[in-house]
Symmetry: C2
């Protein structure tokens, strides 16, 4: 039974943080408000999942290192500056061999929320962005699209405009 020291864990998390911040190549066009797609996003850790009964979709919610640290410490009211929450959303699909299992079908979109009270003060302290489909086309026609995001997220003002409630993970 080997117990590795805490320093190794910290080093590991630190390396993820440093390298994640380096790995954001620029293959996808930015949103109309200038927000770039964080390419390392699909390697981020899980905060939660959810599915919606109205539009028949399911999603996973990921976080960058700042968001993961905050969510695991329960310090999300407010989320700290630099937090990025990301959703990957799929249409529901029936599993071919398990009738009761509903699995991800067509990819719908990626979306992010970036916390920066000053930079995004016109949209409640969060910068919003969304890219449609596997080809990751920027959402909306001009930068006013983010007001649409805000109008919905205002329902969650009590939880810093965030609907996601971090899932309990042992």
């Amino acid at each position: 039974m080997i117990k590795y020291p805490q320093i190794i864990k910290s080093l590991f998390l630190c390396l993820i943080l440093v390298f994640s911040s380096m790995i954001h190549a620029e293959k996808v066009s930015p949103n109309h408000n200038g927000i770039n797609y964080p390419i390392g996003l699909k390697n981020w850790r899980v905060i939660s999942t959810s599915f919606r009964t109205d539009n028949k979709t399911q999603r996973v919610i990921l976080g960058n290192s700042i968001a993961i640290k905050a969510s695991r410490a329960g310090k999300t009211k407010p989320w700290p500056k630099g937090s990025i929450l990301a959703k990957l959303v799929w249409k529901n699909s029936q599993h071919p061999k398990w009738d009761a299992a509903i699995v991800p079908g067509e990819f719908v979109h990626s979306e992010v929320m970036i916390k920066d009270t000053e930079k995004y003060k016109t949209t409640g302290g969060w910068g919003y962005a969304r890219w449609i489909g596997l080809s990751q086309q920027p959402y909306g026609k001009n930068k006013s699209f983010a007001q649409t995001c805000l109008s919905c997220h205002t329902k969650a003002k009590d939880s810093d405009f965030v609907f996601t409630m971090p899932a309990k993970i042992p």
Copy 2:
């Protein structure tokens, strides 16, 4: 528009692999078949999600570096030796501010499948393990529990006993 070289990405993934393999502390009891809980598991990357309409649960499916590499390359028939697939499962819960959103409530269990055709030849080439609840109690009363897993997973024999179909992620 800076393009970071592929070597940085490779180094990053390699570091995750090396450190992940080091970080498996021993806080949780092994299953009756001797399989230990991979403590780094909650930091693993996402392969897919799903929800079940029968037992009202939702889950995220994560993979260790070997499994992630295989799933992203589409090389999962069969999954390579050393692949570990992990599920984190929650009871469904109604989002308090969004009627159509079903979010993770009570944590149900973690479970893993470890691919090793020789080591786990009596259970179809996969070692199965499950830990119940946030306290992560080993599942089952003796090592025969894995036959229960196998009897169900045999339905997915055509896909190397794995139900999970990797989600499309851009």
